[in-house]
């Protein structure tokens, strides 16, 4: 009996190659060291000094190290076609790319948050701790191939986001956003979990033909579903899982939380939600549709198409009347999720669409971070109430911030020489190849509408208002640091280069 047991234990744990998770483990250790640093402050009761940048520096240097490690020596943490953790993890070149993507996003968020937290005198160590753990969670999320790992990681990320959203707790809007995100996030988790349980229950039922041992594992589930694509419970379960993920990416009809949460949350958190969270949701959606739910695509495509069309139209139309900047970004983010869904649907039949979606995600991430950076550096005032007119004449007041805003918004709107244009072009091209002509038409209408509000914003930045009195908006008193300038300039050049030479990134994916 003892030998049998030892064999069993050895067998179940022999695929636990912890080394492939070294980047995630390093991020978690870095996160814990953030808390540890606070312990060694001179006097424990002394108020935290908002000007101290030690935490941020260590965090950024560590993350840059991890970024270089994954992007240059990625093969060390990468084992394709091997069962990892008994089928819990699955790696591919795409997941490697996403790992780099999330670390990059996290570095940018750390930079933004340093300025933001200093401005509002909020505790830095905890914020950095949470955002690092969220980054590690996202990296695990895209690699998970098992619903248990998937759900546990998703919950970890979501719980951390509840806190990050409500971080500025002295401010009512932030608290309100936290509460809304908490209740609606819990609701979406239950929907997702219910779907997973239905799938697990039906796939493990011995009465069904071809039932599987582990109904959580994506590959086994795929085998089972390909045998029973007509089964009602399978369909219901898949639909519930997709709904749960659609909540995370903010697709209609699960978009209600987006404007309020984006407005109330601290700006770095909003940027994190808009870029990394959306990217993770879209990536998971593609993986599910190409993996377990492949046999259901005939059933799911009509649903997704409707969601995609309504999302594009809703986001764009609702954004036209919006003057609050953060709500505007939230609503336009809904429409971007719609364009991405177009790529997701196309990816079921056209393999290249996956690359197009990843390209779009990257460009969207870089441009959004530039836009949020502009907001963060704009003024010393409360950021959730920044209106469109506060941008009036920004280019004259601060040429650097003004050009940041111009390039980022131009890229988001999809103006030709910039990266956003190529991203949209690639998405529309794959949609054309996949034969989604109706959705393509809707998306083009959406882009036309979006140009209206993006140009309203651009006009505000470029033109000095005449006739009416110029509202002098106090620019942030503390000047931009050299490192911040360098960072933003490199992001700017990235957006332009991606527009001129998209092949550079497409080769990497």
């Amino acid at each position: 009996m003892n030998d049998l047991l030892i064999n069993f234990l050895r067998e179940t744990s022999q695929t636990n190659h912890w080394f492939v998770l070294l980047p995630e483990i390093a991020l978690a250790l870095l996160a814990i060291s953030m808390l540890g640093l606070d312990l060694f402050k001179k006097s424990p009761n002394a108020p935290s000094n908002p000007a101290s940048r030690l935490n941020t520096r260590i965090s950024i240097i560590g993350q840059i190290g991890i970024f270089i490690a994954i992007s240059c020596f990625g093969s060390a943490f990468y084992e394709e076609n091997r069962v990892l953790f008994g089928g819990l993890l699955e790696q591919s070149e795409k997941t490697q790319f996403m790992r780099c993507f999330f670390v990059f996003a996290s570095i940018s968020i750390t930079l933004l948050s340093d300025r933001y937290l200093g401005k509002f005198k909020l505790p830095k160590a905890e914020y950095l701790h949470l955002s690092l753990l969220v980054c590690a969670g996202f990296m695990l999320l895209v690699q998970s191939a098992h619903f248990i790992l998937f759900f546990v990681v998703l919950e970890m990320v979501t719980v951390a986001f509840y806190v990050l959203v409500a971080f500025q707790r002295t401010h009512l809007l932030s608290l309100e956003a936290g509460l809304k995100y908490l209740t609606l996030g819990a609701l979406s988790s239950t929907i997702l979990l219910f779907g997973i349980v239905l799938l697990y229950g039906i796939a493990g039922n011995p009465e069904m033909a071809g039932f599987v041992q582990d109904g959580f594992q994506f590959k086994e589930l795929q085998q089972f579903i390909s045998l029973h694509p007509e089964n009602l419970i399978v369909r219901l379960g898949a639909l519930l899982v997709i709904s749960g993920i659609c909540f995370k990416i903010g697709a209609v009809p699960f978009q209600i939380w987006v404007p309020d949460v984006y407005q109330g949350a601290p700006t770095p958190t909003t940027a994190y939600l808009a870029t990394a969270s959306k990217a993770a949701g879209i990536f998971i959606l593609i993986q599910l549709l190409q993996g377990p739910f492949l046999a259901l695509s005939a059933f799911l495509i009509p649903f997704l198409s409707v969601i995609c069309a309504v999302t594009i139209l809703y986001g764009n139309i609702a954004a036209t009347g919006q003057t609050n900047i953060k709500r505007l970004i939230g609503l336009s983010g809904i429409s971007h999720a719609g364009y991405l869904l177009l790529g997701v649907i196309a990816a079921i039949s056209v393999p290249f669409a996956f690359d197009a979606v990843l390209f779009y995600l990257t460009v969207y991430m870089v441009s959004s971070i530039l836009a949020f950076g502009t907001i963060t550096y704009l003024g010393q005032v409360e950021e959730s109430t920044i209106e469109l007119r506060d941008f009036n004449g920004l280019l004259h007041r601060s040429p650097f911030l003004g050009s940041l805003g111009l390039i980022s918004l131009g890229s988001l709107a999809g103006i030709p020489p910039l990266g956003g244009f190529i991203g949209k072009l690639l998405l529309f091209w794959v949609a054309y190849q996949a034969g989604l002509f109706f959705l393509l038409a809707v998306a083009i209408i959406g882009v036309v509408i979006s140009i209206y509000y993006y140009f309203g914003w651009l006009r505000a930045i470029v033109l000095r208002p005449e006739g009416e009195e110029l509202v002098e908006y106090p620019l942030d008193s503390s000047p931009l640091l050299l490192s911040e300038r360098c960072f933003f300039i490199s992001l700017l050049t990235l957006v332009v280069i991606l527009g001129l030479f998209p092949g550079l990134l497409l080769n990497l994916i």
């Binding site: 009996m1 049998l4 047991l5 064999n7 069993f8 234990l9 179940t12 744990s13 636990n16 998770l21 978690a28 808390l35 108020p47 935290s48 000094n49 908002p50 953790f85 008994g86 819990l88 993890l89 005198k121 909020l122 505790p123 905890e126 701790h129 949470l130 753990l133 969670g137 695990l140 248990i148 790992l149 546990v152 990681v153 919950e155 970890m156 719980v159 951390a160 509840y162 806190v163 409500a166 971080f167 707790r169 002295t170 936290g178 041992q213 582990d214």
Partner: protein, 160 residues
Amino acid sequence: MVFNPNAVNSAMFMIVVLVATAGLFVLLEAYFLAILQVLVYAGAVMVLFLFIIMLLDVDKGDDLKLGRRKLSLLARFFGVCLVAFLIFNSFSEVNLPSPDLGTVGDYPGIESGIDFSTSAKSFGLILFTKYMLPFQIIGFLLLIAMIGVIVISKKQKTAE
């Protein structure tokens, strides 16, 4: 009972419900789950609930409104019906279909992969081998929750 105006009484009733659920788990031969239910929910979580109720000093609500009283009557009626149905079901010939739970050994799946089992030992065997990674992540989840509570509720002292 959920409609009881006194919050402490409601919490007490909830403990009763949780213990009853644990009893159902025992009947399903899921002893480990039943123990967890009593220890974690009825024990730890409900104590926290009671603490908070007492800390916040919730006032006793007003007398039952008419609508609420009707609702609670309805709930009682359904409860009695359910009990009657269950008694009828267990003592009469016409049974609800009840699937047989096969007997499972202590070390399930040694011969044939991982199998269904209810004993605490097999939970441990699987949890610390195959599901080691999710187990660690749950640790981080709890850490995040703890940090979150501290951040949101601590007094902020800032240097000017």
